[in-house]
Amino acid sequence: MWQELRAELHPRGLEIVTVALDSGGADAARKWIEAARAVDSPGGTPVDSPGGTPVDSPGGTPHPALIDRAHVCDELFGIVNVPSGVWIDERGMIVRPPETAYPRRPAFLDREIPADATPRLREAMEANRRLRIDAERYVAALRDWVANGDVSRYALAPDEVVGRSRSRPMEHSTAAAHFELGLELQRRGDAERAAGHFREAHRLQPENWTYKRQAWALAGNDRDRLYATDWLAEVKKIGAENYYDPFDD
């Protein structure tokens, strides 16, 4: 979903690097890329178009599309939801920490709820419609930074970048350790023991949607049994309008 913006801004000095936070690796990402060529999915998932695909680049070389099986970016940058964008300048300095990053207003914000929708689908679509996503302001800020560099008001000073990144109490360090053990045990085929660690990660850092959604996806049909919750139930606890932090310029 980033191709258009990339085609516009690459000639002006911006590269877009997409990173799939996906324990399923390249296979999971590739499958999604093919599925994304169909129409985006209704309801259920709030990210109906979660990020760049490497193959559809209109003209020129494709942008780097990377795979992060171990979720190292979660820990390195403090990413807790997708899609998240981090801005890095020509000198390798981060000038904006992770923020919700949509290249345009996603279709699910405006999708009409069909009259014959089941109550559950209706609820999910209503939640999707209430997500706060200010793609227009985000992209305007990005264009401003690409045009003006350091003097852009959106390029933050190093102290502010650090200060705006997420706080990291001991609970979050423990959650990260549990999540990593969960991924490893899942890889070894021990889904039950993995789920125990994932549940601990969810309990210790409930605002980390990456931990939740990755674990639920790995559980497949066992999700209800292992976690007794889902995206909609969790979103209702906090209110859909709080699912994404608003863009703070």
Partner: protein
């Protein structure tokens, strides 16, 4: 990071090295008592450690107490692309970068 033992050398994966003066990362050194193991080191560094001793498997979380980003210098990130070729973020020095994390799930 995952560890297969409680040996301090496991911490090399996250840049910490056992030296005479303690555990060091660059200029920064944290003193450790003689015979200290990974558990002691994690405690001294404010890192969580979660154990699966029956599997000889440990996970050490990131340093706590501050922010997720300890510095605005972008980390040396190297990740594979779809074909498995490693790509270094550093290779884009000289260009502005928007790094976008997404997921299939």
């Amino acid at each position: 990071m995952l560890a297969r033992s409680l040996d301090l050398a496991e911490l090399r994966a996250v840049g910490w090295e056992a030296r005479a003066e303690g555990l060091c990362k660059g200029e920064r050194c944290v003193p450790l008592p003689a015979g200290a193991d990974l558990r002691d080191a994690a405690r001294a560094l404010g890192m969580a450690i979660v154990e699966e001793p029956a599997l000889a498997l440990w996970a050490v979380g990131p340093e706590s107490g501050g922010r997720a980003l300890t510095s605005a210098v972008a980390p040396d990130l190297v990740l594979p692309d779809l074909e498995g070729r490693p790509f270094a973020l550093r290779s884009l020095l000289g260009t502005k970068v928007l790094l976008v994390a997404w997921a299939s799930w």
